[in-house]
């Protein structure tokens, strides 16, 4: 038999079929999966933005609720992607053994993981989009260039997908994710410019904050909100463009060891 006579799905279809599996699962529970992305930002903006915001007034030249709203456009993407690629991936890997089944079909481990990363990015896009709708309906932000925020949500999703997958590759029990969420994601939420500007941090800590991926997403989304673009923002774009493939490569290598005997 000639190798050339054998047909298998092309790369796009392989990635799409992995993506499709996740999409199917997610949309199987449309109400329980589709409603919270709207409810959560609503609660957050009402309680913190409006309630607390009254006492804060202006932050970085904008009302506090506006400042906060632009930040949570991306933290929602961060959390959904991080959950998907930590708890979600671990459960599929260890408990449900979904990957073992998928790897018996004509897809490679690379396809499997890259498909998953793209799915996490898609969720990031969707969650940012949901926040955007809430923000627009509440009249917090005007309709404008901020409409591009879900694209940033997509890339934020990709960054947290590759990072979470790398951690998942080394996690032995599901409880270890507590450290990740409390020790890595929560600090990012508080110290990457979402709830207050990085410039308010002590000057020796400020550079540390630039190590974290969320900082760069937030810098870019604030630019979309204010319409003020500065030249050094190119570094944030470069950060994102490098972070995703580099960390992604390491996460694939590490997960491969767990997926292939």
């Amino acid at each position: 038999m000639k190798a050339s006579s054998i047909i298998y799905p092309n790369l796009f279809n392989r990635l799409f079929s992995v993506w499709f599996r996740h999409y199917r699962v997610y949309t199987s529970h449309l109400i329980s999966n589709g409603l919270p992305p709207f409810i959560e930002p609503l609660l957050f903006l009402v309680a913190i933005g409006l309630g607390l915001g009254n006492h804060i007034g202006i932050m970085q030249g904008m009302p506090y609720i506006e400042f906060l709203a632009t930040g949570i456009l991306l933290t929602s993407a961060m959390y959904t992607s991080a959950f998907e690629c930590s708890y979600g991936t671990f459960i599929r890997l260890e408990y449900e053994k979904v990957y073992d089944g998928m790897l018996a079909t004509p897809i490679t481990v690379n396809d499997l993981i890259i498909g998953e990363i793209i799915w996490a990015g898609t969720k990031g896009f969707f969650f940012s989009f949901c926040v955007l709708i809430v923000v627009w309906v509440m009249g917090v932000l005007p309709i404008g260039i901020i409409a591009l925020a879900p694209i940033l949500g997509f890339f934020t999703g990709l960054m947290f997908a590759v990072m979470s997958l790398l951690i998942t590759a080394f996690v032995k029990t599901i409880n270890h994710f507590n450290f990740y969420f409390t020790g890595v994601l929560s600090p990012m939420f508080f110290f990457c410019g979402v709830v207050f500007p990085i410039t308010d941090l002590p000057s020796f800590i400020q550079p540390v904050s630039y190590i974290f991926p969320l900082t760069h997403s937030v810098i870019l989304v604030r630019a979309l909100a204010t319409g003020i673009f500065e030249q050094n923002m190119i570094w944030s774009i470069i950060y994102i463009a490098v972070f995703i493939p580099v960390v992604g490569w390491f996460s694939i290598q590490a997960l491969k060891k767990r997926l292939i005997d």
Binding site: V98, D100, I260
Partner: protein
Amino acid sequence: MHDPIIRVKNLYKSYGELVAVNNLSFEVRKASCFGFLGPNGAGKTTLMKTLYNKATRDKNPETEVCVFGLDPQRDELSIKARTGVVPQENNLDDELNVIRNLNVFARLNGVPRVKADERIRELLEFMELKEKKSAKITDLSGGMKRRLTIARSLINKPQLLILDEPTTGLDPQVRHVIWNKLRSLKKEGVTILLTTHYMEEAFQICDRIIIMDKGGKVMEGNPAKLLKENIEEYVLEIHHKQYFTKVKDKVNSINARVDDSHEIILVYSSDLMSLKDISMLLPAGEFFLRQSNLEDLFLKITGRKLNESQ
């Protein structure tokens, strides 16, 4: 067309210190059913996994692995595109219902959407799951899950079907249903590779088997032939040593082989009449006279029971 579908030569696979597959060679002919028999830990599952690159074999210059004339480590996709796999654990997608499980797998296998629906309908019918098409996976019985897993593996019309313990833990009825399905697949020209603990399964559907132990091949051949050529036809089980002492002299006088290394005494012989005579001397319920089977063969070769968990 005399080329074998699978050709494996000098295959090794180890996990650290543990050697899971130790210098294994075999060939599988098209449209035949090839079985691997052996206790847990014999290396059966690992061997299967190396055939579709779920496990990486040890690097060894003497090793050759060919599936459809291709090396799984180089042409994983081409091999998987025409192979169906039924893993030991069902690993169905609990988050999707029956039909969506099949749907997702149709996509993963690159089955065009128009063809997928028809194929899924056929498979649900073939595996007798038509009424369950909208059921949740968690609501299915063990037998249904197994049938669905087999249906799933057939979605790409595979030419090679790999089944890892297809009927372990299932009731006899379901087991027979599955055997019948496998027989009809074989008739259609599908090559079947399976692992099993059950000698009956090997007898029922395998044209050829390999008995494995500790990663290596102990014996290979047609199951019925292996028995005929390697072990006495009948066996008398005596349940207590005390009764055996009673008949010991008589046993020694006939052409028989005695295995007394276990709790029960096994007297093997092809001389059925003599075994019957001996059994007459034993109290009822303390002996069992039967035909010997693959388990006895395994016991003879390795000195251990087949289903000992390791």
